[in-house]
């Protein structure tokens, strides 16, 4: 349904993506995962027909995005990273406008707009001005906009960004419900999100594909070690040495905020081994005060580094306790 072959995109002398190739089968949901600036949006814009690739070729629903741009675009529903709609229009009139732009016949217009509004849960605000809607609702209007015209392919650029957790869950259900006869490519920063929605994940890093796999396999590849954050009222050096002796601990290092009398430590443990209780016990044994103890997921950036380098050296060293948790969710 989608085939991308050797696509690169340069902006001036800057190469945003280089030599990207992948295929997406009909009915598949594929996630593009990558840190900021990885090239997710650039790839999706090429598929949606916003701009052509600098080199290489891409086909959507059998149409080349350059040579047969209009047909390719007609087969795609696109949800842009920057959610936007004409502020002064009502939801309904906006969707009708979009339908006409996509060439939906007048007779089918209302039916399609109603169906899209119901699917995205915006039928209750059909007559409201878009500018007056909350961010979450505007986002849904954006998705509804993508659905108009019954496109075979949906390109959704960070559909859950900026939503509250409940809305994120709803959006995920919505996307999964769209799957039936459509092919979906979505992008995200969030690992757990692709795990829950996607059949396959393409990981981009600095404009290149570093991995293509199922979410389960990827997870296994990157879960090399565990990491624990602990805060103890104890002398730093002593605490470090003592905890390093606990079975299953690979290394212990200082985290920011660590000072004598209040040791803040990051502990790396062996894979698939939960040593949190052992550590708590070890701390209690010494009569120290345990102020905090939790396991910390590796950040996306750290995971990318491992994938890029193909070994887990970086994980072992990458012990920045502070910028942990934007994807631990």
């Amino acid at each position: 349904m989608i085939s991308v072959a050797g696509v690169s995109k340069r902006f001036g002398s800057f190469t945003a993506i280089s030599d990207i190739s992948f295929e997406v089968a009909t009915g598949e949901i594929v996630g593009l995962l990558g840190p900021n600036g990885a090239g997710k949006s650039t790839t999706m814009r090429i598929l949606a027909g916003v701009f052509p690739p600098s080199s290489g070729s891409a086909r959507v629903a059998g149409h080349d995005v350059v040579a047969d741009s209009l047909r390719a675009r007609a087969a795609v529903g696109y949800f842009p990273e920057r959610v936007s709609a004409y502020q002064e229009m009502t939801v309904q009139s906006y969707l009708h406008y979009v339908g006409r732009m996509k060439g939906v016949r007048r007779a089918g217009l209302s039916v399609q707009a109603d169906a899209a509004m119901r699917a995205c849960g915006v039928d209750t605000v059909a007559r409201r001005i878009i500018g007056s809607l909350s961010k979450g609702f505007r986002q849904r209007v954006g998705i509804a906009q993508a659905l108009i015209g019954n496109p075979e392919v949906l390109i959704l650029d960070e559909p859950t960004a900026g939503l509250d957790p409940e809305q994120v869950a709803e959006m995920r259900d919505l996307i999964r419900s769209l799957k039936q006869d459509r092919t979906v490519v979505l992008s995200t920063h969030i690992l757990t999100e692709v795990e829950q929605t996607c059949d396959r994940v393409i990981i981009l890093h600095r404009g290149r594909i570093v991995a293509v796999d199922t979410p389960a396999n990827l997870n296994r590849r990157v879960q090399r070690a565990g990491r624990i954050y602990v805060e103890v009222t104890a002398p730093v050096v002593e605490a470090r040495e003592w905890l390093a002796r606990v079975g299953g601990v690979v290394s212990v290092s200082d985290a920011p905020g660590s000072r004598d009398g209040n040791a803040v430590l990051t502990i790396l443990t062996e894979r698939d081994r939960d040593v949190r209780e052992d550590i708590a016990r070890a701390i209690a044994e010494r009569g120290w005060g345990l102020r905090e103890l939790r396991s910390v997921a590796f950040s996306l950036e750290e995971i990318f580094l491992t994938l890029v380098q193909g070994d887990d050296d970086e994980l072992e060293r990458g012990t920045h306790g502070a910028n942990l948790d934007h994807l631990s969710a």
């Binding site: 340069r10 675009r73 007609a74 006409r100 016949r105």
Partner: protein, 255 residues
């Protein structure tokens, strides 16, 4: 699944209609409308009084000339305020990116917006004919020169619109869009004013390019093909630049 070719011919009208709805959905359109009518009405009235006082009332053509020379200033003042939002607003909102993903050609997008602005302009000109009609009822006159003057004004306005459309496609700031358009139009207007500084050859070129000098003939009731061609070329040139400006996303990316 829909085919892209359905309703292709009407996409220009869909865009044009949305533009007009957006324009009339905001108070700005009505303010511009009102200012335009007040100013052109005022000029008509004062020019008429002037003519009545200064000359015995015969030279209707002379009156047209005064009125239309004043009206072009009003047009110069108003049109950049109409064209400023055409692309700038879409760039600011980000809706332009969505527009590019619909099965519509850049040329159709430009045509739709251009036609919307022209329609707005013509709509604005319509009521200015009322005083002339009243005058005609009072004392019939030869309407041909008046129509020629209107033709000139329309051509001039359309040329302004194409220039404003281009500038609007270059920025996402509406104020910048209007100001730069003013700058360019005023430059084209007054570039023959420093005749002393230029030598004969350059002066001839400048005269050829001056919007002011091209418009002047129309106000006298004279259609010179060269003038018409000039305005057509001026308009086409800026529409072409607009097209290039939209196409520049290929290497510039999305704002």
């Amino acid at each position: 699944m829909t085919s892209w070719s359905e309703g292709r011919t009407v996409r220009i009208w869909i865009i044009c209609r949305r533009e007009l709805q957006a324009a009339f959905g905001s108070v700005v359109a009505y303010v511009l409308f009102a200012v335009f009518l007040l100013l052109s009405g005022y000029f008509f009235y004062s020019d008429l009084i002037f003519m009545l006082l200064m000359a015995s009332f015969t030279p209707v053509i002379g009156l047209w000339q005064w009125v239309f020379l004043d009206m072009r200033l009003v047009v110069l003042l108003i049109l950049p305020l109409i064209t400023m939002r055409l692309f700038a607003e879409e760039k600011k909102l980000g809706t332009i990116e969505l527009l590019w993903t619909y099965p519509v050609r850049d040329v159709e997008i430009i045509a739709g917006k251009f036609l919307a602005a022209v329609a707005f302009f013509l709509l604005m000109l319509l009521p200015t004919a009322i005083p002339f009609a009243l005058l005609y009822a009072y004392q019939p006159f030869d309407v041909a020169p008046l129509l020629v003057a209107y033709l000139g004004l329309v051509l001039l306005g359309v040329a302004f619109i194409s220039c404003g459309l281009f500038i609007s496609s270059m920025t996402e700031n509406q104020v910048v869009s209007a100001m730069v358009t003013y700058g360019i139009l005023v430059f084209f207007w007054f570039m023959t004013w420093n005749e002393e500084a230029a030598n004969q050859a350059t002066l001839r070129i400048l005269l050829g390019l001056s919007l002011f000098d091209r418009f002047f003939n129309f106000t006298r009731g004279v259609i010179d093909t060269r003038d018409v061609v000039f305005f057509a070329l001026f308009t086409a040139f800026f529409l072409f630049l607009t097209w290039q400006s939209l196409a520049s996303r290929r290497w510039r990316g999305v704002p």
